[in-house]
Subunit: 211 residues, 2 copies
DNA sequence: CGTACTTTTGAATCGCATCAAATCTGGTGG
DNA sequence: CCACCAGATTTGATGCGATTCAAAAGTACG
């Protein structure tokens, strides 16, 4: 089995029992491909290794509702506890995925205490992160979101970004222009120290919020 | 034990084994009260019955970072798998909470298969909901968020709200004025049918996005 | 009946998205 | 090594939608 996985996926995969790993199938997927559809009986559990998968529903009137965009790691964890998929899964960016038989996955969770604990702990951590992300997206200004991100995702008041700023902007729910402007303003106000990918909050007061 | 709990809490509490329930302590809490602080050893697990609890960290410069606002149900689930709390918990609105001894909670998860499955399933469902909420908050217009909410939280293209519109606006990350305006515009465009607390999407095309 | 809160509409302002365009960067092939 | 390209970074101008402040009308509840 070729385990060329992303960092996030790796940590999630690390705990998977060998028996279950052997049942995993790695598959390259192309943009537009459908992994499963709403209502189909649940047969497989998926994990994104590369690319992007979107879970969507179709609203009346053709509008597409995105429930989740996954760029690494498991998705639709709730499906595991259901009998059918509750949405569509479509590849939004070509990449690779891992497929596990749902039954074997459930059996492993039931039989392997270590795996179960790790899985539960992972769910809890993901939930924590997702809720912090919700709070962040509720903030109204770019500067507030940047500070919130550094405090909640970083350590000791600083983060080392593992992505481009453009990708960071997307995660913060901002246009990249808005992020660049916020960063340069915060730096000018001495509220942030920026050295390449390392971004640190200044000890000083957060300063005014003027443009 | 007096179980006057919220709907959400009830569904979460329903699965708790009797032995663990008997160890629960109900406590009325007043605004401003601190339930635990960052770094303290983990002794208890909490569940909000009424009011609001906020999980926060303090940023350099005194700014307060809200990681999560909980208005019903368990919070800081990730703490269960850690040895210490990773943030502060402060009562933001007076109400009541339930306290469980952390050790007994962990023991129950380890010993009681039904409880464990229900807990895991609840975590997965919460994660699903939280991720959908993130996607929703990433949408830029009030109208889009309303439609997204109805499609993802409702059933068959309609929802019956269990809260005031003001509270709904807060959940959608909007001012209440913005929500009222979006609703009346969507109704005028025949994109929404509104009857009291029941709000349904029209079959027709979503119409233009003009003010 | 009175108080507190929600619902609703109006007007002014703010911050971000968007469109545009220039510069910079890393990597590729000649 | 250099020309070149794709993508990221950066700055500017404009418009839109939401926030905010303000205020009126409706509603629930004691």
């Amino acid at each position: 089995m070729d385990w060329q996985a992303l960092t996030e996926s790796q940590s999630a995969l690390a705990v998977i029992p060998l028996k279950l790993r052997e049942l995993a199938e790695r598959r390259d997927v192309a943009k537009g491909e459908t992994l499963f559809r709403l209502g189909e009986p649940l047969r497989r559990v998926f994990c994104v290794l590369a690319g992007e998968v979107r879970l969507t529903r179709h609203a009346r009137g053709g509008m597409q509702i995105v429930l989740q965009r996954s760029r690494g790691g498991f998705f639709a964890e709730a499906s595991l506890h259901a009998n059918a998929y509750h949405c569509d899964a479509v590849v939004a960016e070509s990449g690779a995925i891992l497929r596990f038989p749902a039954r074997a996955f459930r059996d492993a969770l039931a039989d392997d205490a270590a795996f179960r604990d790790a899985w539960m702990s992972r769910l809890a951590r993901e939930l924590l992160k997702s809720r912090a992300q919700c709070e962040r997206l509720g903030l109204r200004t770019a500067a507030e979101r940047v500070v919130h991100y550094i405090e909640s995702e970083g350590a000791g008041g600083s983060v080392t970004l593992t992505m481009s700023r453009k990708a960071w902007a997307a995660e913060l729910g901002l246009s990249h222009e808005a992020l660049y402007r916020a960063l340069s303003r915060l730096r000018a106000e001495r509220a942030l120290a920026i050295e390449g990918n390392r971004i640190a909050l200044a000890q000083a007061k957060p300063a005014a919020r003027r443009r």
